[in-house]
């Protein structure tokens, strides 16, 4: 596609539910990143893939957060047993090669946990 595509655009979950957020990066982009953005804050790094390999997951806030990119293209961020503090916008970004270059962001998934 022309840009990074994320779905769903909005997700409302009851506390304790599991959610799955999808990211479709720009075709041919090797690297994929997930960021979390709280209201009024800058994006915060969650995790990074190069092809199908998850090279850095240091930003994942807890073991309830899990990301995968099994075929080196589409990625899914899964949050288990959602809590209210998980409410945020989850941004996906991709880059042509890897680290140290500009990222192209999707529009994000706004997650609200009630």
């Amino acid at each position: 596609g022309a840009g990074v595509s994320q779905s769903p655009r909005y997700k409302v979950a009851k506390r304790g539910q599991d959610v799955a957020l999808r990211c479709d990066p720009i075709s041919g982009h090797v690297s994929l990143f997930w960021y979390q953005q709280a209201l009024g804050q800058g994006p915060e790094f969650l995790t990074y893939f190069q092809n199908e390999a998850q090279l850095d997951k240091s930003g994942l806030p807890s073991d309830r957060f899990f990301a995968e990119r099994p075929e080196g293209s589409v990625s899914t961020l899964k949050i288990q047993r959602t809590q209210q503090e998980d409410s945020a916008v989850y941004l996906c970004a991709s880059s042509l090669t890897g680290l140290g270059e500009k990222l192209f962001f999707g529009s994000g998934t706004q997650l609200s946990v009630l």
């Binding site: 960021y35 800058g42 994006p43 915060e44 890897g98 140290g100 500009k102 192209f104 962001f105």
Partner: protein, 113 residues
């Protein structure tokens, strides 16, 4: 004017004026810097980038200045337009942070017609 606290720092300018948005970074090892623009309900959009071996880079209506001595980055927007109203983030990258982009807090730019 500017305000800092629970809310984003804000900058209000008149249409047609030049805008200067500032960013301080803390990691002296950072070697790559980017400015992003984020409109409400959208993801960050790339504006301009600069590597640490440069101190100035120009794009269309935008200029980024890098002062490594005081670890300061600025974005200058010439002839600011209402469509420039958005939140602007600086981001830095360094090998000692795993090479990932680290974002600053952001500045909200409001352009008055």
């Amino acid at each position: 004017g500017e305000s800092v606290g629970l809310h984003l720092p804000t900058l209000s300018v008149q249409e047609g004026d030049n805008s200067i948005i500032n960013c301080a970074y803390s990691n002296s090892a950072s070697d790559y810097f980017i400015w992003y623009k984020q409109e409400s309900g959208k993801g960050p959009q790339f504006i301009i980038d600069i590597r640490s071996n440069m101190d100035k880079r120009q794009g269309q209506r935008v200029t980024v200045l890098l002062n490594k001595t005081v670890k300061h980055l600025s974005l200058q927007i010439a002839a600011t337009q209402p469509g420039d109203s958005a939140v602007y983030f600086c981001a830095e990258n360094s090998d000692n942070q795993g090479g990932k982009l680290i974002f600053g807090q952001g500045t909200e730019l409001s352009v008055k017609p």
